[in-house]
């Protein structure tokens, strides 16, 4: 899915876990996501997609949060 090198949130399959590495997003949006728990170093689980495949629900810091895949590809994981 991602054309960049490195794995992103969008590469995770349902029930797969990863550690968030960095947010390659405009500062405003990145800070908003960080306030919701998307902090570098946090553990993320891909939960399930919406029926149409996009957006996708991720579990982070005990909450289920839906992001569009276009956002998820900007969140690098390790």
């Amino acid at each position: 899915m991602s054309v960049n090198n490195g794995r992103t949130l969008a590469d995770l399959r349902p029930a797969e876990h990863a550690i968030l590495d960095r947010l390659e997003l405009p500062d405003d949006f990145a800070e908003r996501l960080m306030r919701l728990g998307f902090l570098p170093g946090a553990s993320v689980e891909a939960v399930r997609p919406a029926p149409g495949g996009d957006p996708f629900i991720y579990r982070i810091d005990g909450a289920d949060i839906a992001l569009r895949l276009e956002t998820a590809v900007r969140l690098k994981v390790r």
């Binding site: 902090l39 919406a50 957006p55 629900i57 005990g62 949060i65 839906a66 569009r68």
Partner: protein
């Protein structure tokens, strides 16, 4: 700083600050049960809607404490950044910083957090602590925390934060007295404990972790039912099918199940109308009381059961947590027309009423997305259209109940289609913007409480009856006079010779191409105030025409009268007109306020009127 977005309070309504009452603000992340606690503290004394002079629609309620002391509670939108981005955030920030002219700085703050996810919630409210207001931490959902095997030491948390802490289950009323106790005290000065500099999200989260650890917080097990339900409700095939099925079921129930209730209300109104008629001497007074006031207002009150049923369903969807799933399912579709999934909440709320729907667009951060959503929300079939649709469908659509229900459902689809096409046009022209980010939290599923549903119903009923008692009553009275002058030899004129008739006949040439005669024309003019006035107007007009008829307050006679007077093509055109026209002064007013000027409401009104005229013209041709 606050001047750029606050309006000067109206001179007639003194600013809140002048009341000199104590004010405590409630703040908490979404889904922390803030409204439930607000309701538990204020009960039925809450004042839903805007406080006079407060230009922000925030709930203010009065909590009665011991010894008849009271304190006013302000329900603020749940956002926590000190760098506000959305309008909602700006409001919260400015209120807490004491930068608003219409509200004093709150005397204290209740920080409501979801105890089942303490660390995350504490991190979200942390920036508020740096404002230095006296505060209490309310750990809500205590019952769920225990049930799922979590624990927290309230005393330790209090020591860690330097703030009073209460463990509460707002739903069950547990611990609410402790909150009352805090509200009753002259609240202690700001925290004595050194707070770290909470300048960024990472720092806030780190602080929250260490505080939770210090308070011996044990995370509960994950919710048991939410993933199981999501597996079905967000299934590739079942998900959209259940969403559409639910919507269809709701509309069918509104149409079919409401009928006996409506008949009962109708019977009560016409029976009481007849006994009033019998008690009054025949003549003008009797005509005014029955044909003007009683049948005018009564013909609208009949629709209360339908509106309450719709409100009940909307409340169930929201309180259970399903609405967020609906937004998720709809995001893909909405993104095709340039909107985002979050717009589903205003758009679905608009099925009840466009006014709160337009206010709920404040959560959409992108200005252009927000304008587009405001612009298209009035196309959704609001509850004020229901009386008109119901009347016309009952009068003109032949066949079984399901045919009529399907017709009504089709009208909901038509409204949604108009909203989507308009959004697409706007978003690919004047409101073009980059795709805005979509972030939506999926709350844990919860049982809706009777209390919360009951309060929603009461509120809606109150607003509806208030309108029936003010706007609709006024229009009914004015219309009765216009229909009864000029008098000839002390007798009221034929409706066609009255002033109302003249007005209708003046505009008849304009509306004749749509299949409307002058009587419908009178209704079109009066319903500019509010759509449901149409039914009252027709009631008055035909009530006067058939004054010798028995029980003219009843909707059965109104249906018969309409069938005599309107061709099927005209009826289709009338439905089309109501589907598209912006006949609601409240909506115009709220759009003006939310967009900060007359440009958008005027453009919106003109666009919708042009569309309504065109659609009626086409509908008349097709169905004739």
């Amino acid at each position: 700083m606050s001047d750029c977005h606050t309006e000067t309070p109206l001179a007639a309504a003194p600013p809140y600050a002048a009341t000199g009452r104590r004010l405590v603000a409630l703040i908490g992340p979404p889904n922390s049960g803030k409204s439930t606690l607000f309701n538990a503290l204020t009960g039925l004394r809450q004042q839903v809607g805007n406080y006079p002079g407060v230009t922000v629609e925030r709930h203010i309620g009065r909590a009665i404490l011991d010894h008849n002391r009271t304190v006013d509670l302000l329900d603020l939108p749940g956002v926590y950044s000190l760098h506000p981005r959305s309008d909602d955030e700006r409001v919260t920030h400015d209120v807490l910083a004491g930068q608003r002219s219409d509200l004093p700085r709150p005397d204290a703050v209740l920080l409501i957090v979801d105890s089942t996810n303490l660390e995350r919630n504490l991190a979200m409210v942390a920036p508020i602590l740096t404002l230095g207001l006296p505060a209490m931490i309310v750990l809500n959902m205590a019952d769920e925390l225990r049930h799922r095997g979590g624990a927290v030491d309230v005393g330790l948390l209090s020591r860690e934060t330097g703030l009073p802490v209460a463990l509460v289950s707002a739903v069950q009323g547990e611990g609410v007295d402790e909150v009352r106790h805090f509200l009753a005290e002259r609240v202690a000065p700001p925290p004595r404990v050194e707070l770290p500099v909470l300048s960024n999200a990472t720092a806030c989260r780190g602080w929250a972790s260490s505080v939770a650890k210090g308070a011996g917080y044990a995370s509960p097990l994950p919710p048991e039912w939410t993933p199981k339900l999501d597996a079905v409700l967000l299934d590739r095939i079942w998900g959209p099918a259940i969403l559409l099925g639910l919507l269809a079921l709701i509309w069918w129930t509104i149409f079919a199940a409401a009928t006996p209730m409506m008949d009962a209300v109708d019977w009560a109104i016409s029976t009481s109308g007849e006994s009033i008629r019998a008690a009054l001497p025949a003549g003008l007074l009797q005509s005014f009381a029955i044909d003007g006031v009683w049948s005018g207002v009564g013909s609208v009150v009949v629709f209360l059961p339908q509106i309450l049923l719709l409100t009940l369903f909307m409340g169930l969807l929201e309180d259970s947590g399903y609405m967020a799933r609906a937004a998720l399912i709809a995001d893909r579709t909405l993104s095709r027309v340039g909107l985002q999934g979050r717009a589903v909440i205003p758009l679905v709320s608009a099925l009840a009423c466009a006014v709160p729907a337009i206010m709920s667009t404040r959560t959409i951060e992108n200005k252009r997305d927000r304008l587009a959503t405001i612009f298209v929300a009035p196309f959704m079939v609001c509850s004020a259209r229901l009386p008109v649709y119901t009347l016309l469908i009952a009068a003109f659509v032949p066949g079984a109940a399901w045919v009529k229900a399907a017709t009504l459902f089709g009208l909901y689809l038509l409204g949604a289609a108009a909203a989507f096409v308009t959004a697409w046009i706007l978003k690919s022209s004047m409101l073009k913007s980059d795709r805005s980010p979509f972030v939506l939290e999926m709350p844990t599923y919860r049982w809706p409480t009777w209390r919360s549903l009951g309060l929603r119903l009461l509120d809606r009923a109150r607003v509806f009856l208030q309108r029936a008692g003010t706007v609709i009553l006024t229009v009914a009275i004015v219309l009765w006079f216009l229909a009864n002058i000029p008098m000839k030899n002390g007798e009221p004129p034929e409706i066609g010779d009255s002033w109302a008739g003249s007005i209708g006949k003046t505009i008849e040439p304009v509306i004749a191409p749509l299949g409307f005669n002058w009587k419908i024309g009178i209704g079109l003019i009066t319903s500019l105030a509010a759509r449901e006035v149409m039914v009252a107007t027709l009631g008055t007009i035909y009530g006067i025409e058939g004054a010798d008829e028995e029980g003219s307050a009843g909707n059965q006679s109104l249906r018969d009268a309409l069938r005599r007077d309107l061709s099927p093509g005209g009826a289709a055109a009338l439905i089309a007109f109501f589907a598209f026209a912006m006949q609601c002064m409240s909506t115009v007013a709220v759009v003006r306020r939310e967009t900060g000027g007359w440009t958008w409401p005027v453009f919106q009104f003109a666009y919708m009127l042009a569309l309504a005229y065109g659609a009626s013209f086409v509908a008349f041709r097709i169905f004739s």
